[in-house]
Amino acid sequence: MKKYVVLSLLILLLSGCVSKLSNFTNEQKLAPDSNMGVVVIAYDSDTAIHSLVFSGPSTFELEHNLYDNKHNYVVTSFPAGTYDITKAKIYSKYYYISLGSDEDANWKINIKPNKVNYIGHFNIDQIGSGYKVQIKNSTTLALEFLQENYQDLIKRYELVYSKDGPDDEFLAFLDSLKGEE
C-alpha cells in the first residue's frame, strides 16, 4: 500500500515538469529550431518499454508504442545539451527502472544542435527476476533505417553519434569515403 502511495506521488511531481515528446513520421517535415537537435533512438527489447525519461536542460519523457509504428525507432527533437537517461518505464507508466550515470554505467547523451543525433539502441534483457539495461551502439542499423525512411532528413542534417563516451569516428569515416568516390 505504501509503495502505491510513493509511486503516485512521484507521478504527480513528474507531471508538473516533464514534457512528452512524440514520434515524427517521415511525412512530416522535421525542422527544429536552431537550438534544437534531431534525436534518433531505437527501442530494442523483448520487455515492453513504455518510455524513457531524459533529464538535462529540460526533462523529457519519450514514449514509444511499438504497435503504432512499423519500426522500433523514435525520431524527435530536443533542445541541445547534455542529458542523463534517468528512468526506463516498462510495461506502463507506473513501473520504472532507475538509471542515471554512475561508475558502472554512463547514461549521458550530448545532443548537438542542427544535427541528427543517434543516441543508440536501448535494450532491456530480463535475466531471472532482474533486468540488464544498456544502450548499444548500432550506428549502422540506424544509418540504414534513416537512409530508407528519412532520406530527406539526413540530407539536410548531418548524422552524428551522440552517446557520451569514447569517440566513435565511424560516421565521419563514411563521409570521407564519399569524398573518395
Partner: protein, 717 residues
C-alpha cells in the same frame, strides 16, 4: 523400482571399414558428445555413465563386466533443464544434481539394491542446488555437499547423513527439517566458493573466498581455532594491483600445518606445481615444472607425501604424466593397446582395483574404457561420439618456427594424408590472450579436412600454455606481432609440397576473425579469401559498443589486451581493418550473432556496409538472430560451416571428383540451408536463398527439397 535393462552399444568399431573420402554430413559432425563421462563405484563393481541422446540427458548403470545397462535418470534438455553433476556417494548410493522444471534445482539420491547380477533402485529428490565436495567413502551413509543457502546467499558445506533421509515421507518440509540437523562445516564462513576437505578426517581445512574487491585462500589453524589467510589477490582496479592478470595461483591440497601444494606461476614464467609456505607466503620448492609448457592440473598424495601426476598440453595434446615409473609404464602400455595418444585415468575405485579410462587424440573424439587391475583386462565401454565411427579423422603434423622475439611458435597442420596438393585454410584462434589451439579432435577442423581442405592452426604469441612471457607478448599486438607470427608459420606451411600455395584462405572467430581480415591487408597476395565469425574490426568500438563498456572495470579489461583508448586512440584506429577496408582485396564472408555482447554485431555490420560502399570485393554477411558470441545450438554451426565450405569451394576449390554418396551428403547440407532460410528462425527469412538452396539440394538428389520448392510456388525444377 525394478529396472529394465537394455543392451549397451559396446560392440561397435569392428565391422565397418572406414573410407576417408566419404563426406561427413554436417548434422552428424555438429552434434554434442553422446557419451560424456563414466564413474565407477567405490568397490569397483558398478559403473554409472552419462549420455546425451535425442535431446535427453541420461544416467545409466551397469555391473562391471555386464553388457546390459539400465537407465537410472533421464531429463529432457529443453528449457535449460540439465544434469549439473553426478557421482557415487558409496558402493550402493549415487547422487545427481540437476536443474529441473520451472528453473528449480534438485539433488536426487539414488539407492541401489544389488541381487545376483541384477539391481533395483529407489530414489528421492531434495530441492536445492548442491555439488558433492567429498563422498566420505570411509564413513557409511555420510557425504559432504556444498549446498546453496539462498536465504543467506552463501554456500553451506553440509555433512549429509543419508540414513536420516531414508524411510521418511519425502516432502520439502521434512527435508528442510532433516537438513537443518546436518552439521554445517562452513557455518561462520561467508563468500566461500571453494572447499578443501581432508581425505582422512573429512574436516574442512582450506577455503577459497571471493569478495567484491579481492579473492583469498585461507587454511584452518587448529591451534588457534581460526582461519588464517595466506593468499590474497585484489580485483578492484582502483586499488593497487598486487598480481598481474596473467598470474595463476590455485591450491591443490594442504600438506601440513605450514605447507600447501599449489599450481602457480607467481615469480616464475611457467605454471608449475610448487610447495607453498603459508607463513612465508611464498613457494619454497618446485615439485614439477615443464621446460616448455604450463602445468594444467596435478594430483598429490598426502599419504605418500609425493606428487602422483601432472597434466599439460604437450605439443598441443593434453597429457596426464605419472611421476613414478610403474604408473608411467602402465600408461604407456595403455597408449599402445588403445592406439590413441592421450590416455587419462578419470576415475578409480577406492581399493584401486578398477579404473575408468578416457583416451582421445586429434583423430578421435574419445573412447571410454574400464580396466580391471587383477585380471589386467581393458574393456571398451563406449565412444563419446559413436555415430562418427564410419569416418576417419586426421592427426596434425606439428609445424614450428621462431618469431622475431626468439620464441618458438607452434602450429598444427592437418592434411588428411592426401596425395595431391591441397588448398589450405589458416585458422587463427580467438582471444588472443590466454587461449590455446590444441592438437585434439576439433569438429570444425575435421569437417574442413573431410571436405578437402588442409587446415593450419597456430599458437601465436599471446596463446596460453607456453608461459606468462609468451602470453604477455601478445598484449596490444592487434595487427602487429600476432599476425607476423601467423604469417611466418603460414609461409612455412605453403612451402610444403602438400599445400597448394595458390589456394589459401583464412578463417577465424572472435579475435581470429579480426586476424583473418587484417592478415589479408598486411600480407596481400597470400590469401584468396577471408572468413570471419563474430569478429572485431573497429577497435575503438570495443569501448563504445555499449554504455556498460564505459565503466573502469570493463575499460581496464579491454585495454589490458587491446590498448588504452584514452592514450592510444589513433593507434587503435590505425590497427582497425574497418578503417583500411579499401585495402581488403579478397572476397569476404562475415558471420555475426545479434546477441553477441563480446564482439558486438555492429563490428561486422560496419565492415559489411563499408565493403559494399567501396564495392571492390564480394562480401557476404550473415547475422544470426539468436546467437551470441557463438551459437546456442548446433544448427548455427551447421549453417556456418556448410556456408563456409560452399564459399571455399568457390574460391579455393579442392577439385574433388564427387561420388554419388558424397553428392547425396552435399544435397542434404543444401537442404538444411534451404530449411533455415525458409523457416526464418535462425536467420532472417529469405525466399530467394531458400529457393537457391532447395534447388541445389534437389539437383543433387534430395527429393524433400521439391516439396519445399512447391511450397514456395516454384515448379520449374
Amino acid at each position: 523400482m525394478k529396472l529394465k535393462f537394455a543392451s549397451l552399444l559396446f560392440v561397435l568399431l569392428v565391422t565397418f571399414t572406414a573410407n576417408s573420402s566419404e563426406f561427413i554430413p554436417a548434422n552428424q559432425m555438429f552434434v554434442s558428445d553422446q557419451y560424456q563421462s563414466f564413474a565407477i563405484s567405490p568397490d569397483g563393481e558398478t559403473l554409472l555413465g552419462k549420455s546425451f541422446i535425442d535431446g535427453y540427458q541420461q544416467l545409466f548403470a551397469f555391473s562391471a563386466g555386464s553388457k546390459q545397462a539400465a537407465e537410472v535418470f533421464k531429463i529432457t534438455t529443453s528449457d535449460r533443464k540439465r544434469i549439473l553433476d553426478y557421482d557415487w556417494l558409496d558402493k550402493d548410493t549415487a547422487y545427481v544434481s540437476f536443474l529441473g522444471t520451472f528453473n528449480t534445482y534438485y539433488i536426487r539420491i539414488i539407492d541401489f539394491t544389488f541381487k545376483d547380477n541384477d539391481f533395483e533402485i529407489d530414489y528421492y529428490d531434495v530441492r536445492g542446488l548442491g555439488v558433492l565436495v567429498n563422498p566420505m567413502l570411509g564413513v557409511e551413509d555420510k557425504a559432504l555437499l556444498a549446498k546453496l543457502n539462498a536465504k543467506d546467499k552463501k554456500l553451506d558445506l553440509l555433512e549429509l547423513d543419508l540414513s536420516k533421509l531414508r524411510n521418511i515421507k519425502h516432502n520439502s518440509k521434512n527435508h528442510k527439517k532433516i537438513f537443518s540437523t546436518f552439521r554445517n562445516l562452513s557455518e561462520d564462513l561467508e563468500d566461500t566458493y571453494k572447499f578443501y576437505v581432508s581425505d582422512s578426517t573429512y574436516e574442512l581445512e582450506m577455503i577459497g573466498q571471493s569478495y567484491d574487491d579481492y579473492n583469498t585462500y585461507s587454511v584452518y589453524d587448529s591451534k588457534t581455532g581460526s582461519w588464517k589467510e595466506f593468499f590474497r589477490v585484489n580485483k578492484n582496479t582502483s586499488e593497487e594491483k598486487n598480481y598481474s592478470k596473467l598470474d595463476v595461483f590455485t591450491p591443490i591440497t594442504k600438506v601440513d600445518d605450514r605447507h600447501i601444494v599449489a599450481l602457480s606461476n607467481i615469480n616464475r614464467d611457467k605454471v608449475a606445481v610448487v610447495l607453498f609456505d603459508i607463513e612465508a607466503k611464498k613457494d619454497v620448492k618446485t615439485l614439477y615444472e615443464s621446460e616448455y609448457y604450463d602445468v594444467k592440473s596435478a594430483a598429490y598424495s598426502r599419504k605418500q607425501k609425493k606428487l602422483i601426476s601432472v597434466s599439460y598440453a604437450d605439443r598441443g595434446l593434453n597429457k596426464q604424466k605419472f611421476l613414478d615409473k610403474g604408473s608411467n609404464d602402465f600408461q604407456s602400455e595403455l597408449v599402445k593397446k588403445i592406439g590413441l595418444e592421450s590416455v587419462f585415468i578419470i576415475d578409480r575405485s577406492v581399493t584401486g582395483s578398477d579404473y575408468v579410462i578416457f583416451a582421445h587424440d586429434a583423430s578421435n573424439p574419445g573412447r571410454f574404457y574400464h580396466y580391471n587391475v587383477a585380471s589386467n583386462k581393458l574393456r571398451f565401454l563406449q565412444s563419446s561420439m559413436p555415430d562418427l565411427y564410419p569416418y576417419t579423422f586426421t592427426k596434425a603434423n606439428i609445424l614450428t618456427t621462431t618469431n622475431d622475439l626468439g620464441n618458438k611458435v607452434e602450429g598444427f597442420l592437418y592434411t588428411g594424408g592426401s596425395t595431391k596438393k591441397m588448398p589450405m585454410v589458416v585458422m587463427p584462434h580467438g582471444g588472443p590472450i590466454g587461449v590455446q589451439d590444441l592438437n585434439e579432435f576439433d569438429r570444425e577442423v575435421q569437417f574442413l579436412v573431410n571436405r578437402g581442405f588442409a587446415v593450419l592452426t597456430i599458437n601465436f604469441r599471446g596463446s596460453s600454455g607456453y608461459g606468462k612471457k609468451y602470453m604477455s607478448a601478445g598484449r596490444e599486438q592487434f595487427g602487429k606481432g600476432i599476425e607476423a607470427d601467423i604469417n611466418k608459420l603460414v609461409n612455412k606451411a605453403i612451402s610444403l609440397t602438400a599445400i597448394d600455395s595458390d589456394k589459401v584462405c583464412i578463417y577465424g572467430k572472435s579475435y581470429g576473425g579480426y586476424s583473418a581480415i587484417t592478415s589479408t591487408i598486411l600480407y596481400p597476395g597470400t590469401y584468396k579469401c577471408a572468413i570471419s565469425g563474430f569478429g572485431v574490426f573497429d577497435l575503438p568500438l570495443l569501448y563504445s559498443a555499449s554504455n556498460l563498456h564505459h565503466s573502469e572495470d570493463v575499460k581496464d579489461a579491454i585495454s589490458f589486451v587491446v590498448g588504452d583508448i584514452d592514450t592510444k586512440y589513433a593507434e587503435l584506429k590505425e590497427n582497425s581493418p574497418l578503417y583500411k577496408a579499401n585495402k581488403i582485396n579478397v572476397p569476404t564472408l562475415l558471420f555475426a550473432g545479434r546477441n553477441d555482447e563480446i564482439a558486438h554485431p555492429e563490428h561486422s555490420r560496419r565492415l559489411n556496409y563499408v565493403l559494399n560502399t567501396i564495392g571492390k570485393v564480394d562480401v557476404e554477411y550473415h547475422e544470426y538472430l539468436h546467437s551470441g558470441h557463438g551459437h546456442p545450438n548446433w544448427v548455427g554451426d551447421r549453417h556456418q560451416l556448410i556456408t563456409i565450405v560452399s564459399f571455399l569451394n568457390k574460391h579455393i576449390n579442392p577439385g574433388l571428383s564427387l561420388t554419388e554418396k558424397n553428392k547425396s551428403v552435399i544435397s542434404d547440407d543444401y537442404y538444411l540451408l534451404g530449411l533455415i532460410y525458409y523457416d526464418g528462425h535462425y536467420l532472417k527469412k529469405d525466399h530467394d536463398k531458400a529457393e537457391k538452396y532447395f534447388r541445389l539440394a534437389h539437383s543433387n538428389g534430395n527429393e524433400n527439397a521439391a516439396k519445399y520448392l512447391r511450397r514456395l510456388g516454384i515448379y520449374d525444377f
